[in-house]
């Protein structure tokens, strides 16, 4: 039931341009996607960028900017339905609480809305890397309840792979755009630089692995936290049991001596259960680690292919 959705050439070009001009370094650029929903299928036809959060523009009103932009675009017949948003990413790190919250608010309003993640570094390596994600219905439920405790998550059986689901993208162009593309191809004098077949990969690999290691560290910290919590919980249970036993013993002793039994005390108040560590962060880190691993595996398979090609080339000449 994950139908691919359509995106036009204009949106792709605008996103590329936005990052290229405004987002150097590891800055994240964001923007809004506009389009329409046609028979359950999403079609993204335009987009506009969001200004960066600068320090000197404290009184900049984001909502006002958005409203004005959409009003103006409506005047020129551009679809003004807010169907999603896009964000650039740095080596694939985008699974974060902020993303979840924003996407939830979008999906709450429009069920089919997506977040487009554009990876400029991967794109510069040879092919356009644009992925679309949506929150799974299970995760939507949880976000709606705003209940991120371990019990709720356990009940819903959410694993890190069930948080975001990828939606396939299909580029659809009108005939006129096709004519334009034909024109561009004939007239453009830019040489074809085959970055895709570039053999040097160690830089990218190093960076990805470094980010992965950071996340794994974070993950192990969370695991340690959880383990301590579990241990504390069991210790507390034991203490409770011991206390009850002692109580029992005392009560029987007292009864045998003919004294009234001690009043029942509220054990729960005495033994307050330790705070369960929030599971949401662990889930997010796990999701992010998973994403990094997927990217790395895709990258290595690509490079293996290229290495074998180089071998074939060498084999013929040597």
């Amino acid at each position: 039931e994950n139908l691919p959705f359509f995106i036009t050439c204009l949106v792709v070009l605008k996103i590329i341009k936005h990052y290229q001009e405004e987002g150097q370094g590891s800055e994240v650029v964001q923007g809004v996607l506009l389009g329409l929903v046609v028979e359950d299928r999403l079609e993204i036809t335009n987009c506009f960028p969001f200004p960066q959060h600068t320090e000197d523009d404290v009184d900049f009103d984001e909502v006002q900017y958005q409203m004005e932009m959409m009003r103006s675009l409506r005047h020129v017949n551009i679809d003004h339905l807010h169907v999603g948003w896009y964000q650039s990413t740095y080596y694939g790190s985008f699974v974060s609480r902020a993303l979840l919250d924003s996407q939830f608010s979008y999906q709450h309003a429009i069920e089919e809305s997506v977040v487009l993640i554009y990876d400029p570094i991967k794109t510069a390596q040879g092919s356009l890397c644009l992925k679309a994600y949506r929150l799974t219905p299970k995760l939507m439920e949880i976000c709606k309840e705003k209940d991120f405790s371990p019990e709720a998550l356990k009940k819903a059986c959410i694993g890190y792979e069930h948080m975001l689901e990828e939606v396939p993208i299909v580029i659809k162009n009108s005939h006129l755009i096709n004519v334009l593309l034909l024109d561009l191809q004939e007239k453009s004098t830019v040489a074809d630089k085959p970055e895709l077949l570039n053999l040097s990969s160690s830089n990218h690999l190093e960076k990805s692995l470094q980010l992965l290691m950071d996340r794994v560290d974070g993950m192990s910290q969370e695991i340690v936290k959880y383990n301590t919590y579990c241990r504390n919980l069991t210790k507390q249970q034991q203490q409770k049991q011991q206390y009850l036993q002692r109580r029992q013993q005392e009560n029987t002793q007292r009864q045998s001596r003919g004294e009234p039994p001690l009043p029942e005390e509220d054990i729960n108040k005495m033994f307050k259960p330790p705070q369960a560590p929030p599971r949401m962060d662990t889930l997010l880190i796990a999701g992010q680690v998973n994403n990094y691993c997927q990217n790395i595996k895709a990258f290595t398979s690509q490079n293996l292919g290229k290495l074998f090609m180089a071998e074939a080339l060498q084999g013929h000449s040597s």
């Binding site: 050439c9 796990a286 398979s301």
Partner: protein
């Protein structure tokens, strides 16, 4: 008519050469005194945006106009963005929503403060009299604005994209006219833009005008296929030369020599060891990635217990 009115003289190629020598002299003078060099650099996103606005035009409008944004320096102009401006056009008058244009420009400035108004565009093939008026308005916004026309009606079976700069002409003291001189257009791309456009080109081949994004390994495969095609073209050319069908060309021969020499000459053992160490690295990374994924999956299951 007073000397301030602009005569509506649409620019025709024949005008500069067959009519009065005075016009020819002015044309020549303009070329010397050009404020903008002869180049206009356009990014594909601008053209896509123009085509899109044209497709969404109001009922009854035959063309759309809009503002061009970009950067200008002494030698050339670079157009990087644009937005359409609502306007009404009829036989005798034209009305442009200037408030809107100003507003949009302010909004755009918030995102990219370095972009300035450098001109305007209109779809359609010719420069009409109304264009002159609109151009005058834009002259107030930018020094020496560029006017770009995109022929979306495909009058000559192609989408003709042209750019002009205007200049005054005529005898001072009498009627002055405005002349639009064409500029050369160059399409420029950022690297990532070119890669994006390459992907977009593929929608031309499919009947439903659609194209999905492929997986990584498939991309390498298609790039390899591409190289293979190029190699077979070259091979057939070489065969032809060898059998005498085609004249041998020295420059092509030199390129071929370069190409063959580009494959690095490494001894077999060295290459083996390099290849193996690289492959080992990649395999190890794949193994570690798989291990990590298994680990977090396990952790997940244990916690849920």
């Amino acid at each position: 008519p007073s000397s301030g009115a602009t005569a509506r003289i649409p620019w025709r190629p024949a005008l500069s050469f067959s009519s009065s020598p005075f016009v020819t002299i002015l044309h020549f003078l303009y070329k010397i005194m050009a404020v903008h060099g002869p180049f206009v650099k356009i990014h594909p996103v601008v053209l896509a945006s123009i085509v899109d606005s044209y497709e969404r035009r109001n009922e009854g409008a035959s063309r759309v106009i809009g503002t061009l944004l970009g950067t200008a320096d002494k030698h050339s102009v670079e157009v990087t963005n644009c937005f359409s401006v609502p306007h009404n056009e009829s036989e005798d008058e034209v009305a442009v929503d200037m408030e809107f244009a100003k507003n949009m420009y302010e909004l755009h400035k918030k995102v990219s403060p370095s972009e300035v108004i450098i001109g305007w565009y209109a779809t359609g093939y010719d420069i009409t009299e109304h264009s002159v008026l609109i151009h005058e308005y834009y002259s107030r916004e930018a020094p020496n604005p560029i006017h770009m026309t995109v022929d979306t009606a495909l009058q000559s079976n192609k989408m003709n994209i042209r750019a002009y700069v205007s200049s005054q002409m005529g005898v001072p003291g009498k009627t002055v006219g405005v002349m639009f001189t064409p500029l050369t257009i160059k399409y420029i791309y950022y690297d990532t833009e070119r890669i994006g456009v390459d992907l977009l080109q593929r929608t031309r081949a499919s009947p439903s005008r659609t194209n999905g994004l492929t997986t990584d390994l498939a991309q390498v495969a298609s790039a390899a296929g591409h190289v293979q095609e190029m190699l077979s073209t070259m091979l057939s050319y070489i065969e032809d030369v060898l059998s005498g069908k085609v004249m041998a060309d020295n420059s092509v021969g030199r390129y071929l020599m370069d190409l063959v020499n580009k494959v690095p000459k490494i001894t077999a053992e060295d290459f083996e060891s390099m290849l193996n160490s690289n492959i080992n690295d990649l395999l190890m990374v794949t193994y570690l990635a798989n291990l990590t994924q298994a680990q977090i999956a396990l952790n997940e299951k244990l916690v849920v217990l």
